[in-house]
Amino acid sequence: MIDDLERAIEAMLFASDAPLDPRQVAGRLGDEMTPGQVRTIIEAIAARHAGSGIELVERGGHWHFQTPADLAHMLRRERDDPRKLSRAAAEVLAIVAYHEPVSRAEIEAIRGVQTSKGTLDVLMEAEWIAPAGRREVPGRPLIYKTTDAFLQHFGLSSRKDLPGIDDLRAAGLLDPVDLAFDDAMGELDLVKDGEEA
């Protein structure tokens, strides 16, 4: 027998048209419970659904019901994916996600080309990236970060789930070239190719 509170929270998450975080759920319950208590119940609901045809998942602290990925082939419809990303847009999205917050100039430094205005617009329209203030350097450029909608769409619980982010960070590949260069020069045992000089 599932208790009324758990039923109510389950119904709320099921009926909501946007993912909810425990604070929002607690608010709708009249703030009689702490977000922490609500979270415990949500986790119990998620556990109850595990292994079924519906799963309750956490994305950036917000929870929503969805179908399990392994059933994709049963559910995929013939319709085209409406969100087709250009290669440039995908690259910019990855750079924002792995380096956030990041300015347009920093994105361009990595890609070696100018980023057309349209590319950032497409990503903002999809609500996958959003401005996150300005960098306090001369010119005060806008900086961008990814959104909760980004985490939801790509099935990430948090940014820590970004594929390979730990390896990239460990390899220094998320550091700017200047920093990596100083490190490399410091190490002295430069791996130089034999053809050099």
């Binding site: 709320m12 099921f14 009926a15 909501s16 048209d17 909810l20 709708r28 929503h64 019901f65 969805q66 179908t67 399990p68 990925a69 994709a72 559910l75 995929r76 994916d81 409406p82 969100r83 087709k84 990303l85 290669r87 440039a88 995908a90 690259e91 999205l93 990855a94 750079i95 996600a97 792995y98 990595i110 890609r111 070696g112 080309v113 939801q152 769409h153 790509f154 099935g155 990430l156 970004l162 594929p163 390979g164 982010i165 990239l168 390899a171 590949l173 998320l174 070239v177 990596a180 260069f181 490399a184 020069m185 430069l190 791996v191 130089k192 190719d193 053809e195 050099e196 000089a197």
Partner: protein, 262 residues
């Protein structure tokens, strides 16, 4: 979306020499992209690529493109010039005073290529994740959570009664009653003032000449008419007027007999 993932694998493949005729600079997003594609063709880890060989590959590619009279954008040519310089610097005997050294320049280029490659790979992996609408699905028509606003109208009894008062006033037949106002006429004031002048010998304030039992509108009227009366008596030379400054009290007294006109 699958095509996109494919794109990432296909694009870096460097053109074989036989493909030279098909080479199109439009497939690359700038010189760095082209350089990365060429580096990949060395089929080794980016950390081990030969920068010198890469420079050679790039310069050859650009040369062929120009031979085929393809339009080569300026940034590709700038990169070519820079790489040609780098190549000669790497080949020449080292000049210890040169700063930055060609080795450092080569290292920087290598680091940039590694970073671009890393992000390109990350993008491909990101796009290959289980995505909503493609791999996982949500409810199409959730009931939705709603906030219902309960409108509550606010009004006090005072609001109600004063509104009714205004309605009543508006609807009552409009009758203009000209009320009789208590006034002191100019004649009465003249008369009064002339009498008083005889009693008060020194300078006295105009207000002092008024009967003390005049109040409200009657007093206001008395002040106005006495003022005009005082002006009239002064014009006739029968009294003197004095005032320290504008808006100060007005004083009057009887004029000396000698100055009285005939």
């Amino acid at each position: 979306m699958d095509e996109l993932a494919l794109d990432f694998e296909l694009a870096p493949a460097a053109p074989e020499r036989d493909d030279a005729l098909q080479l199109s600079l439009e497939s690359w997003e700038g010189p760095l992209d082209l350089l990365l594609a060429l580096a990949r063709s060395q089929k080794v880890d980016l950390k081990q690529i030969s920068i010198l060989a890469l420079v050679e590959q790039y310069l050859t590619f650009i040369a062929e493109a120009r031979e085929l009279k393809l339009e080569v954008a300026a940034d590709y040519l700038v990169m070519a010039a820079w790489l040609a310089y780098l190549k000669s610097a790497l080949l020449l005997p080292k000049d210890p005073l040169e700063d930055p050294s060609p080795d450092e320049l080569a290292l920087r280029l290598q680091l940039r290529l590694q970073r671009l490659a890393a992000m390109r790979e990350a993008a491909a992996r990101l796009l290959a994740r289980d995505r909503i609408g493609r791999d996982v699905f949500l409810r199409t028509k959730p009931e939705g959570l709603r906030d219902v606003k309960l409108r509550r109208w606010d009004a006090s009894l005072y609001d109600l009664l004063s509104a009714y008062g205004q309605v009543k006033l508006r609807s009552e037949p409009v009758v203009h009653m000209v009320s009789r106002r208590p006034v002191i006429t100019l004649d009465a004031a003249l008369h009064h003032l002339q009498r008083m002048i005889g009693i008060k010998l020194d300078w006295a304030e105009l207000a002092d000449f008024l009967p003390p039992d005049y109040h409200g509108p009657l007093r206001r009227s008395a002040i106005a008419s006495s003022f005009v009366a005082a002006l009239e008596l002064a014009r006739q030379g029968r009294i003197d007027l004095k005032q320290e400054a504008a808006f100060e009290p007005l004083y009057l007294k009887a004029a000396p007999m000698g100055q009285q006109p005939a």
